[in-house]
Symmetry: C2
Amino acid sequence: MSNIRHALNIKREDDFAQWYQTVISEAELAEESGVRGCMVIKPWGYGIWERIQRLLDDRIKAAGHENVYFPIFIPLSNFEREADHVDGFAKEMAVVTHHRLIADGEGGLKPDPEAKLEEPLIVRPTSETIFGDAMARWIQSWRDLPLLTNQWANVVRWEMRTRMFLRTSEFLWQEGHTAHATDAEAKEHTLTMLEVYRACAEEDLALPVIAGEKPENERFPGAVETWSIEAMMQDGKALQAGTSHYLGTNFSEAAGIKFQDREGGEKFCHTTSWGVSTRMIGGVIMTHGDDDGLRVPPRIAPYQVVILPMLRDKPEDDALLEYCEVLRAKLAGQQTLGEPVRVLLDKKPGKAAAKRWDWVRKGAPIIIEVGGRDMDNGVVSLIRRDQLWNMESGKANFQTPSRDEAGETIPAMLGEIQQAIFDEAAARRDANIVRDIDTMDGLRAYYAEGQKAPGWVEVQWSKPTGPALEKVVEQLKELKLTVRNVPMDRPDADGTCIFTGEPAVERIYVAKAY
Amino acid sequence: MSNIRHALNIKREDDFAQWYQTVISEAELAEESGVRGCMVIKPWGYGIWERIQRLLDDRIKAAGHENVYFPIFIPLSNFEREADHVDGFAKEMAVVTHHRLIADGEGGLKPDPEAKLEEPLIVRPTSETIFGDAMARWIQSWRDLPLLTNQWANVVRWEMRTRMFLRTSEFLWQEGHTAHATDAEAKEHTLTMLEVYRACAEEDLALPVIAGEKPENERFPGAVETWSIEAMMQDGKALQAGTSHYLGTNFSEAAGIKFQDREGGEKFCHTTSWGVSTRMIGGVIMTHGDDDGLRVPPRIAPYQVVILPMLRDKPEDDALLEYCEVLRAKLAGQQTLGEPVRVLLDKKPGKAAAKRWDWVRKGAPIIIEVGGRDMDNGVVSLIRRDQLWNMESGKANFQTPSRDEAGETIPAMLGEIQQAIFDEAAARRDANIVRDIDTMDGLRAYYAEGQKAPGWVEVQWSKPTGPALEKVVEQLKELKLTVRNVPMDRPDADGTCIFTGEPAVERIYVAKAY
Ligand SMILES: [Zn+2]
Ligand SMILES: [Zn+2]
């Protein structure tokens, strides 16, 4: 509708990258910190992360894991051990070299040359090696297995080009590390955690994802298998939203993670690792955001319902607040999506209309305005964020249920919103996967068409390895494409490989990606 | 009882420091990581921290705060701004100077000289300055106040002599930072958070504490007032378990945190900050531990009840597990201390007796063993960790309620245990505070008596400042004592200062401290 005046000054279709930054700023999710590549996560953004943490942590614990905490610093020598071709090794990492600051004699401070560390410490980019050292200490016999651990932590990977939530020098994540007696059990656990991530993405974040195995060239260094969940953003690009790795005995051999089996023999453990990060919030923004800001899925919304009394700094305010408080209390006493309804009665100073648009941009699932007239009529004015506009009038799509009715229907309405935005994303994703391209020319033509959001293409391939795979990767790179994964839920291959012309072995998704 | 065979090989009275390390090791709370001054927090220790976090976070949010996340790195220049006498400045901090590792040409790795940072970054020892920068951006007018923020994070202070939980180079904490329009409101908020800490320590951790103001010499640098809660350990020493600072306009003037008041004038905000850390776990150990290991207060116990079936790797195990599962489910479906009962049915391989002692050392509040005979009799064998020994027999003090009775009485029993260990600690604390010393000679004599746990002494003083205070600090230092705080709940002074002989102004606690 051309007569709608959207809450953002930029549209997705005009400049998706700029729109993304605008949503982060206008929804008050995060901002630049002044420290290179690091962001400040603001209350609404951090509240979403806390919700994701809580729900995913419950799932991780239900799968039998215990949380632990390992040091932020990893000795440089751990990386020497890990880097099996040290000569070619060069990694962007934050290196701590000194342990004291002193005056520099010119009115400033400097690292104290007397306090140089004998061995530099690295701010953890991941904790594989230091978990491995502990597992070697903790595991003696088959009775200690499986060892199922997880850590919530900050990690640092020095990034030259950063983008809030998607690629920052410091980010927050969880990293699971497990050890098992057998190959089969470790592989099964890798898939168990992939399924945990799928469920969290789809059920909690309302992000439809494709779960599948990454091709050889996209494996985590040292992994035998790397699996991922991939989500489609509104610009058609793929976002890898979580990975689960089967590491074989590669890490246990490096760290000496051994156990005595039931027969008394000594064996290496089979290990796994898996992680998701604050990057998922980037996925939520690019999947559910619209030209009015963010839309937060109810399950991860810090507040699911925001009540805005139209206060006028007059004595009547008391009655209005009391009227609103009855609704707040009624909602807070009910459950939705398995938890108590999270409702805010927002009494902050400011005009209700301005506050309404603030909450629209932030993406609270339900926004309720209550003025004196509403109170007199025993009603409230309610907006569903996923049905913001009345398409006929071009105005905000207010419903005016009675206060009692609102108190009764909102819990179920939140469940509907959760489902509705998932369905919307899934329908868009499905509409933007093309499955009928079976030649490289066809692929080239499809991505050459200059479409804004060309989405993903499913092709069949012969699963080349080594140099043959490198050649495929090069061909795709020319089109700015990568192989996302080998989806688990698709029929067997029945054609020929579009890269090699050989009989196809499996289906893969190719796409542009974040 | 001399015939009791305790679960630890060391007693508190023999070597308290060594006993402390033994509990940490035997209760599997934490261990050295191999990285200087940093520990690995193991599942049971981290589980306790997660409980503390959850309960304290609820209290912090109930007091109106929102959580945020700030970068781990702070530019060196922020410390130059803060250090108002830079010439004498020397601080132990982890300094990041490079952002890349490369091969050193000798088979190892080294910081890349080409990747030296223009400005070194400091791993945050606290986030005062970087919060200050953000507050200056976020606050425009009185409508934005109060600004109530909190962060859960890891921080690093390079320590030369470390002790697990009490003093480690890296530790976990929360740091609250708030900004207010007026002096009075900020001061009130400082005390509100002190009360939150007192309630958390006493009600959640069962740590009786003394809340009071720190003397001038113990203030946080830049603070106008520093308040603390102080707990007495079993060796009589004090542990500062949390601090709350009123910062006046010192930080807001440095960072430019200004607001426009209702009359349109520009003013500096009054700020506060406050924090507690994993150090609290050290306080829990030294307050509630005994010669059999740790005793975790039920409110912060990851599991409050552990059920140990005496499995024999035989077909009868199934019936036994089913018998235990009925109790587990019955308990998990009930509430205690305001939350669902946390109960573990521990099916791990291993002899039940060995596992019993593992859980005794870990300090699970209630341990239940179930063997075939218990099942046949419809009972369970139950140990309250706070009443471990039968003093007459010198054996473990088993109760044998029927399974149904256990299912009904355990929730209330957990509440009793929470209260009992608090009462025990409070009685010991009260018995170890001396209030009748009114001369320096008396104080000297008291602490010279060579008692193992001489506890604290309450004295009256004239609240000296400047050089007079320094002299008092020196006098106390000779006795290895410090002023802990000025308790809030004691009668007004009515005597003379034991240090200066002047009329006393207030009462203070002096003690040895961690
Ligand atoms: Zn190699
Ligand atoms: Zn000065």
